[in-house]
Amino acid sequence: MSAPLDLNALAASSIHEVKNLLGQLTLSLEEIAQAQCPGTEQEVASARFACSRIVDRLTEMLILYKLDGGFLKPSIAAHSPGDFLEDVMLAAKNLTAGRIAIHLEPPTNAPEFWFFDRDLTESALMNAVHNALLHANSQIKLSAELDGEFLLFRVADDGAGYPTEVLKATLDEPRVSQQGSGLGLFFASSVAQAHHNKERHGKVSLDNSKSQGAVFSLYLP
């Protein structure tokens, strides 16, 4: 008999393949969107949202698989937090078709540049955006600021806020939930922790705002 199947590697390569197929599907959706058939905007947007969530979830799986194997290291380079957040906003807008307004808060004391892994951080933030899109009433706010020795990215919505059990839960291990947000938060937290500068590590914190809605905060050292 041949060597036993390495299920982990097999799963990883299947995820890879499915992810690429979804990539092509997304491009086709893009072409459909450009044809601008009247009355299809909402349908196209929700198809995009579904695709984007699947792609992002698979990407997270792959990244977590690598993190677990201990061979994922962030690729640190200097990026402008303002530009970065603009990309996140564009990606978010693409998923709502105007149903929910995405606001980019004017940078108050955000640094001109910061050293971080742009793609990992975008995956982590997009995760929060997906959650926010599912729970927001009418708007989502994105912001970047300097908080002590950390760069802080925030995603805030005007929905019902995080349930108490989510606020209480530890993010250090994946939590299986019906909505799937447990894995996403674990992923974001893993990405934050993979960022370190001197002795400081990144972190994620979850809060409910005093007025209304959930606030996701990502700190990068």
Partner: protein, 541 residues
Amino acid sequence: MEINFAEKRVLIIDDHPGMRSSMRAILGGFGVVLIEMSGTANDGIRRLQAKTFDIIICDYFLGDSSDGQQLLEQLRRNNLISLSTVFIMVTAERVYEKVVSAVELAPDDYLIKPFSGEVLRSRLERIMSKKLAFATIYSLIEDGKLAEATQVCKELTKHQNKYTIDILRLLAELYVTQGKFDEAQDVYQQVVALRAVPWARMGLATMFHYKNRHHEAEELLEEVIDEAPEYMAAYDLLSKVCESQEKNDRAQQVLERAVAASPLIAHRQKEMGQLAMRNGDMEAAEKAFESVVTRGKTSFFRSADDYANLSRVQMERGKHKEALSTLRDVRTSFNGSPEAEFTAAVMESLIHTKSGDTEASAKALENALTIQKTNQIPADENLSLDLAKACFAHGKDEEAKDLLQKLVRNNHDSVALIEKAKQIFVDAGKGDEGKSLIEGNVKEIIQLNNQGVMKAKEGDLDGSVQLLTEAAEKMPDNLQIILNAAQALLVHIDQRGWNEDYMASAQRYLDTARIKSAVHPKLLSVSKLATEVTKKYGVAA
């Protein structure tokens, strides 16, 4: 920034037809109309040679023969795209993120598929704003006004903005190009202090290497490789550092690791072949050169030299039939260009001698000498040595001596070359004659050099200039001579007053020296002198 996309020329390079048309649709969505598409790297290169494009969007995976990063490096090294051309890499994998953080020549940006038209448009606009901010520096660099470009960069680093790190990187690279290694080191250190990003540490290690601080370079490179094992250039440099310390086996091992990780990179395989040959590992050398030639066949950038290397090592291993077949290939591959013909003829002459076919060997030698006489063949050291060998084999002693003498006079301080030349005399049974001829020439040049320098010291600046510039005209490839000539001219200007012609000659010698070796220790001090003298007379460099 508002950009009129309708007037931008865009080239899409992707081996996947479906992806090409999707990309065209996305670009069309925000008004791009001037679009061309290529399915292979070579087709892309041909289009870029024929026409100027504003934007290149290239997939990282280009099928089996090449990848987008290799293509980008070839385009930049061969000046097929200008600094203001936008190059965006597109990839389906996160793998490229690792690659891009560890390359010397990075694209302007990269995007991971899938992405929306909005994202692509926003990235393009951002890159173009950045190119606009850098426009002055780019045009100064392209005009060769490096000192002024450096000045502008320095100004820009005074106020922090989102381009600060990019400007620092460019500034460091400018310093390196001008041979100002101390200044470059400072800049790299400044970046490392902010964050130890791989390219800055790599830059620092390179400066240590240039300044012969091998231990520091080695330590730093070990760290870089440990943390970023995908950083291929770090292996290349570590291998060189090992060689500088005469740890040749270790140098080969280091390079072997890099070759195993990315066997497609021709320049590394070439380096590997040469190193293995020096180490006497002919099997590894043949394997490496073989790979260079095989891959080069489909590449736009290939050289007759690669075939010469392969046939040389095949001959050494007694594979005469294979060696001759390699030379037939060089003729077809280059459509019988004089350079290819010359390469083939020189090597054929040696191979036929080895296999005992004196007549064929003599014919090949005649052929080589005729081509050399009627065409300007650039003097490749190894090929010249081989030609001298062939001349001796056929009793053309005068030609052989002449060739070797010329080589020695142009490289009188290269120990390795002198040894090789002496060995050729020994093999021809003229060891003593060779020894005295070579040593006589070396001695003569050293004396000439010393006389020139002495005259300057004694205050006879005119005599020093005359002696050394005459020597430089006779031995235009001798680095030490031309640098001393440049120095004599500069000292003359410094002490006797501004002289336009002298400055022009000095700059010409410096340019030649830079092309031959950017790291010659004397090049630094003479370059510095040129800057000081220019400043003294308030002439714009």
